[in-house]
Symmetry: C2
Subunit: 451 residues, 2 copies
């Protein structure tokens, strides 16, 4: 019996190309179809990438097909947030324990690496400029239109929709009965800018930090690139006082930056040109279910697109691949494995969507609230003294492989404990007292058995 399957993947972005490698590594025949041109020949991400922050979940999935070391070579560790405060001061907040970091990678660079990795297998064929226009969930046939407009129909044993937030495969699923779907845009959009490298490829900002200019209703961030430049992203409401609508001329935009992000503006001599050239993009959350129809499954953003504020979009998509193969590798019953995959991952997709949305508020307001900062100080103290009792939510999400849904649930329990502590009338003066510490520890011990 031939156990090798005929796999069709729609989407050659990060998740689609990693998925191709996973299937290829196991000897299956893989045909991958991408709507856009080959990312190795054309910069398909210009002006709207949002830089990526690889963390533990992503690394684990890369390690699973031996790609970790290759990716390390194009990744820059960011050990802390670098906060550019409104008063001009600069504050470092470590992301985790010493040595723990999230890693800045360019979407384009990583995509090229993964496409090359897939392309190196003899049992993989890559097709670009192929637009998915139809799926038959009964016969497992997918129809694409190639660049010349010719119909290409391929038959598969299994079809994977890794074709992103605006997935065509999911669009076909939507036409089937009882398919739940939601697309929800947030009030903010984003525009990308670049801080060029300094002389000799030097970094003009600290290079091992994720820079944030938190300004309550909006924020600017910057992530380092290996060529010494920084990819800068402005997150701003579409409408209102400080908004993309209000900044309807370069002059207004420059004045806004001069007042709000003067240190960043100084590092972008071609700000005017960039502002005019680069588009404003919107941010959408996608939720749907089921993810599987017969032998067709959604994966990555196609199943659960989220906002980028926890740096988990790609990591979650890569973890989908990891979880999928933990299931497929242990059974010949693929339909049952796909059913388990969607049941397992749906609550985790929902959880990271919620976490990402919440983190936007935390990122923007980091400097705002002295009470919030005091709470973080108390938490850090507890964590240091009782690491077995307290892992911060950020670490559970970023530096662990705990299910997102469990991290979220535990984070909510922690929030409640801290809300009680912070409501003590004398907390400002006795935050580091044995009494406060004992109260927290008692509660943490109480919840231990249920975890």
């Amino acid at each position: 019996m031939n156990t090798k399957k005929n796999i069709v993947i729609a989407g050659g972005g990060l998740v689609g190309s990693l998925l191709a490698v996973y299937f290829a590594e196991r000897g299956h025949r893989v045909r991958l179809f991408e709507r856009r041109p080959d990312a190795r020949k054309t910069n398909i991400y210009a002006g709207r990438s949002i830089n990526l922050a690889l963390s533990d979940r992503g690394w684990k999935a890369l390690r699973g097909v031996g790609l970790e070391e290759k990716v390390r070579q194009i990744a820059l560790p960011m050990y802390h947030r670098g906060l550019h405060q409104p008063d001009g001061s600069y504050v470092r907040q470590p992301y985790g324990q010493p040595g723990q970091a999230i890693y800045s990678v360019s979407r384009g660079g990583l995509n090229i690496l993964l496409l090359n990795a897939a392309d190196a297998y003899e049992n993989v064929e890559l097709f670009f400029n192929h637009k998915c226009v139809d799926v038959d969930f009964e016969t497992n046939e997918v129809k694409f239109l190639d660049e010349a407009g010719n119909e290409v129909v391929v038959k598969a044993d299994y079809i994977f929709g890794a074709d992103g937030a605006f997935s065509a495969i999911r669009g076909e699923m939507m036409k089937t009965d009882r398919f739940d779907y939601q697309q929800q845009y947030i009030s903010h959009g984003y525009k990308e800018l670049t801080i060029p490298a300094g002389e000799g490829g030097s970094f003009l900002l600290e290079n091992n930090a994720l820079h944030i200019w938190p300004r309550h209703e909006f924020m600017l961030i910057a992530l380092p690139n290996i060529d010494g430049s920084f990819t800068v992203t402005l997150f701003l409401p579409f409408e209102g006082n400080n908004s993309f609508s209000a900044l309807d001329s370069v002059k207004k935009a420059r004045e806004f930056f001069r007042q709000t992000f003067p240190d960043a503006l100084e590092l972008m001599p071609d700000f005017d040109q960039q502002w005019q050239q680069n588009p404003v993009s919107s941010l959408c959350i996608i939720r749907c279910y089921p993810w599987v129809r017969n032998h067709t499954a959604l994966i990555g953003d196609a199943a659960h697109a989220i906002v980028p504020f926890y740096g988990q979009g790609m990591n979650c998509g890569f973890e989908d691949v990891d979880v999928l193969f933990q299931l497929l590798d242990h059974t010949a019953d693929w339909p049952a494995a796909l059913e388990q995959y969607q049941k397992l991952r749906k609550p985790d997709g929902d959880a990271i969507a919620e976490l990402a949305l919440r983190n936007f508020i935390e990122m923007r307001d980091l400097t705002a609230d002295p009470k919030f900062l005091l709470q973080k100080k108390i938490e850090a103290r507890i964590q240091q003294k009782y690491p077995e009792l307290w892992t911060p939510l950020y670490s559970m999400v970023t530096f662990s492989h705990m299910r997102y849904s469990e991290a979220l649930a535990l984070g909510k329990v922690h929030d409640q404990i801290m809300a009680d502590i912070m409501s003590r009338p004398d907390i400002e003066s006795n935050w580091d007292s044995p009494e406060v510490e004992a109260a927290i520890i008692a509660k943490l011990r109480e919840i231990q058995p249920v975890l």
Copy 2:
């Protein structure tokens, strides 16, 4: 200046055809395109209509174009719920004050009446078997495919998508940026059956009631038709113990009816044939925003499809038309009026969606909880003694023109008041005491000023 507009309506169902009459009455040129065949020539609703319950909001919109009397002739008043209890007893629950009723009409009959009304205008053209395939929101052009597959492109001043829960116009809007959308299926589906008329067109059940067989997790309902028959609808989960999946043979279905709805089964001699012929349909809630893109607007189910359990789907769609013309009739600035229309109606669409979902639980569980019945008894008593202080939620929704969103908000306040009352330890014994009455009245007086 010619103030007459060139209107294109997609969808010739209930809302589309009423909308056509409203525009035609004001002298505008109307072209209405319907995907299906002409309802006057083909029964396009066979087996999946869910009978309609016209109530005050619907009547008002019909009255606005002089159609009330015509529709009265095909409508049957239902003054009360007729509850067929599990113990075989039959209980009447009035819907409102004496004389207040909701009216059973057949979807097909009403649609034919409205299409004829629209067709009677010289400035109306009706096109059937025309499928909408594209909208250009900049040029206001809509592309249809006719029965022969020919493209028909029409240009309009304003375009209305009245094309139902699976609206093609909305489908095109979904391709534009920042369009929020949700489709949510509930766990229950439905199957329609018919209780035929008795001898000489007589009714085999009480004809001025909406019959309900509430059975907690599922229910059967029956609405009278003017020919003496009843349209019967079974609402049942798709999966589980008592479900459409479980009833996978006529024999099982008949046995289920024999045990659960014996009096209804007796009235359907051709039950077996009906069960096999009629499809199981799903129930979907649609939420989206915006409803307006440039000169194109969504209306009715295309903007806000809801579950049928409050009998408000059509009434809400008709009220959309009423509200739209309250705005259009008082301004030459139609874009501003459309903007107001969507801002006004969106919260009301959301509110009736929530109310309809909640009412499903109430309908199924009507007989279940003695506490619930006691609460209804207390409420009825308060309403009778203090009608100026208490209007039941059902009456606000069904027999008033109060905004759905306001009815929902006030209903929640009432719920809280009653939850407090019902939590009194001695409520069973002193529910009609002066003390309980005084407590309720005090709270109702308290909230008066905020309304």
